[in-house]
Symmetry: C2
Subunit: 238 residues, 2 copies
Amino acid sequence: MSEHVPNAPKPETSQAETVASELTLAIHQHRVLPGTKLGEDDLAEIYGVSRTIIRAALQSLAHHQLVEIRRNRGAFVAQPSIREAHEVFEARVLLEPGVARRAAERTKPDDLALLQRHIQDEHAALASGDRGAALHLSGLFHIEIARIADHETLAGFVEILIARSSLIIALYWRRESALCEKHAHHALLEALRSGDGVAAEELMHSHLVDLHSALDLRERPKPARSLKEALTAPDTGL
Amino acid sequence: MSEHVPNAPKPETSQAETVASELTLAIHQHRVLPGTKLGEDDLAEIYGVSRTIIRAALQSLAHHQLVEIRRNRGAFVAQPSIREAHEVFEARVLLEPGVARRAAERTKPDDLALLQRHIQDEHAALASGDRGAALHLSGLFHIEIARIADHETLAGFVEILIARSSLIIALYWRRESALCEKHAHHALLEALRSGDGVAAEELMHSHLVDLHSALDLRERPKPARSLKEALTAPDTGL
DNA sequence: GTACACAAATTTGTATACAATGATGTGCTC
DNA sequence: GAGCACATCATTGTATACAAATTTGTGTAC
């Protein structure tokens, strides 16, 4: 039958999904930055698979708007515009508070333990200076809440929005403001623990508004990095 | 080998996108029903392209949850469960009223004309007995409103939800209730014309609640059709 | 020295070949 | 005749080969 072994000789998940997951993780953790070109041959060699697999993975990421595929040009890590950044956080403000309320009404003990660990891990990552990992875990916290809400459709949307948020934070995060989500997440956890849906809804709302306002979304060209793209656009004046 | 597409001297859009669009349309119009197997070789021959293209198109539809890909088994038109059906309409009730309000605040004269034509076409299709085409146009009406709202992120979600709604209607539509959306759509159009966001929001809300309640979502096995799948599952008792 | 034009090299787009997995059919055992 | 084992077939999964397009490099004209 099917025993859940990590390095199984018989992959239950397709190779394309594996590559897509790894790439997604790398983008979430800001190991590859927006604008980076993702050449098919390079990736094929890195992951030891053929371009067929890489292509499928890249298409998957493109559907999640994590990469942009330009015909005959290749795949690049997406660079959300200021407008897109606003859209994403507006959508999150619209969706996630309701999801949090739903989650508060359905939280089980195991869920609380998992969320608690997420917060711990996030804190540990921050303490060790790994901002990328902390950011990733911070996103996972929100995704976990969506999962607890037990609404796959909304959870899928939330997942997409959080993935794009990671790109937006990479591009527009205001350096001086600390990435201190510990308090907000802890308060949310407590609201979930007590089953207080209204509190969870409000906490999530203010948390997201905070995040949105912590971005520097004034008019400026996107910091297109790497290659000549960084040089064909005017400097940000930093 | 390419004599299928009439006028495509220089394809600006990739062949995979073309195939995906055609398949999506066919599903929206209920020309292929939920549960239908979409064999790669068959599709490759039909559209006159290689399996590579077909595969990319099917993956695209799978991302939109219009088809389900089972490893080593192939692609099948998705059969949303009752639970998924509820989820989809819950999500639509959550998202679309706000989108309609936004749209009312941004409607331009050209948009009104376009919506008017959609309603006309839908009515004409219904009169000629082409329920599939009418259903498709009905969905396009909602998508058009999302486009007018000028929020690409939300519009993308709405598009996905409407695509899935088409499958849900194919599976669970209550036969006796007429597919009479003309009044609701016309009322919405008028609200948009007068720029009354609150009215548009409320009209959209009640319209969606109506649609949801017009489905027969009582417990029953999914009508898996075609091939032996229809025989391995208990009959719907119809 | 700059700008344009052309050629080489790299990279993506598509088709096809082969391998692997699941489905089907046949024959043997009991 | 029922049930299982194995061979055969069909279909999907993956790799590779080739075509098309873009980018890079070089040479020449002015």
